[in-house]
């Protein structure tokens, strides 16, 4: 092989290597990298009920109920398609609010999800309280509207 050909082979090998790497990365992105199930998936029976899983969704407005005299709370998780009732005993995080996204870790118990841990997070929105108030009715309307766009509940990969 002449040095020129040798260089060509090297260049082709590098391009092929990067290509294979890209192919694997793309393939991986198509996999379900997310670690939690949406309420829709839970209803479709995709989530195993034998072991601990995570369910993610929004806390439905008006669904949060505290049991008097105990630490137990119940609320409903929704992805605007389906809902899952959740019960949890313990202290809820500060940012836990109705209408917010949360992840609950626990097990299915029949139709009810018994959470061992509830994680909440502030969203990416920054706005003055007045603006938030003015948005409220709009959100409530969307909450109850049937057939809200499925994409609306798509989780954005971890963002602050």
């Amino acid at each position: 092989m002449t040095p020129r050909q040798k260089r060509m082979v090297t260049v082709v090998a590098i391009v092929a290597g990067v290509g294979i790497a890209t192919a694997f990365a793309l393939k991986a992105f198509n996999q379900n990298l997310l670690y939690y199930y949406s309420p829709t998936q839970v209803h479709a029976g995709e989530a195993p009920d034998s072991r601990s899983i995570r369910v993610g969704g929004l806390v439905e407005n008006g669904s949060l109920k505290r049991q008097p005299g105990s630490m137990e709370v119940t609320f409903v998780l929704t992805d605007y398609q389906q809902t899952v009732p959740v019960s949890y005993t313990g202290v809820l995080p500060d940012l836990f609010r109705e209408g917010q996204g949360v992840i609950a870790r626990g097990k299915m118990d029949g139709n009810r999800f018994v959470a061992e841990e509830v994680l909440a997070k502030h969203d990416e929105n920054y706005m003055p309280p007045e603006v938030a108030d003015s948005l409220k009715p709009h959100m409530d309307a969307a909450n109850s509207a049937a057939g809200a766009p499925a994409a609306a509940a798509t989780p954005a990969p971890g963002s602050t």
Binding site: K6, T10, G17, V18, A21, T22, Q31
Partner: protein, 230 residues
């Protein structure tokens, strides 16, 4: 005398063979990272809890951290002797593309240090409560991960070979770059244990491996050229 020029692949094979021969004569040095690996994993149950079901939760991560540190330990000396005695100088001047020779060297290093870690991992994992069902994923993830780490570490070792306090510097350079391996590798193990398909993280490990395999030799040969300059 009119000699036949050695084909590049044959030259790379010679580099590989040479390191195997050298390791065979210095097997005690080769065994050290492996012993380190086992010892480090033993420390976790002692420091946390001997309860296997509790250890299982972190088992995948522990095996991965230990493998990472053990590989790093072996990397420090990767190029040192060859640069000091002038061998790399002759490689640079051999007329062979340096990247292939260095890749062969790294491959030998991986067979001597990475592969034993992979083979040992089920035994070590069992001690940490990992069920037999995750052995395959554990070994496969380590196979890809240690391979990538050998290349990344090769770049770091080539950059630091001529400098003061090279070993500490090497860790500082390589460990941040190796974080994705740790994340995906231990995640694959956990997913398998949870009954999920570990395909996602394994594919990402494969993606990083091929990336390192194709671009790593370029960086390594650039670094070695800088190191022989003095």
């Amino acid at each position: 005398m009119s000699a036949v020029r050695t084909p590049t692949l044959a030259a790379a094979r010679l580099v590989f063979q040479r390191d195997m021969t050298l390791a065979w004569r210095r097997w005690d040095e080769v065994a050290q990272p492996l012993i380190f690996y086992v010892v480090v994993t033993t420390m976790f149950p002692l420091a946390t809890t001997p309860d296997l079901s509790a250890l299982r939760e972190i088992g995948g991560g522990v095996v991965w951290v230990a493998a990472l540190l053990a590989s790093l330990l072996a990397l420090e000396s990767l190029f040192r002797a060859d640069v000091e005695d002038g061998t790399t100088e002759q490689w640079v001047l051999s007329g062979q593309p340096l990247g292939y020779l260095l890749l062969a060297k790294v491959a030998a290093h991986w067979v001597l240090t990475g592969l034993p870690l992979v083979i040992m991992s089920p035994i070590v994992g069992t001690g940490l409560g990992l069920p037999t069902s995750v052995w395959g994923v554990l070994m496969f993830s380590l196979l890809l991960g240690t391979g990538t780490l050998s290349i990344l570490g090769g770049i770091g070792a080539a950059l630091t070979v001529g400098v003061r306090r090279g070993s500490v510097l090497l860790s500082l350079l390589v460990l941040p770059l190796a974080m994705p391996l740790l994340i995906f590798g231990s995640r694959a193990v956990t997913m398998q244990m949870d009954g999920d398909s570990p395909a996602g993280p394994l594919q990402l490990l494969a993606a990083i491996f091929f990336m390192a395999l194709s671009l790593g030799p370029l960086a390594m040969s650039a670094a070695i050229r800088i190191s022989v300059e003095n």
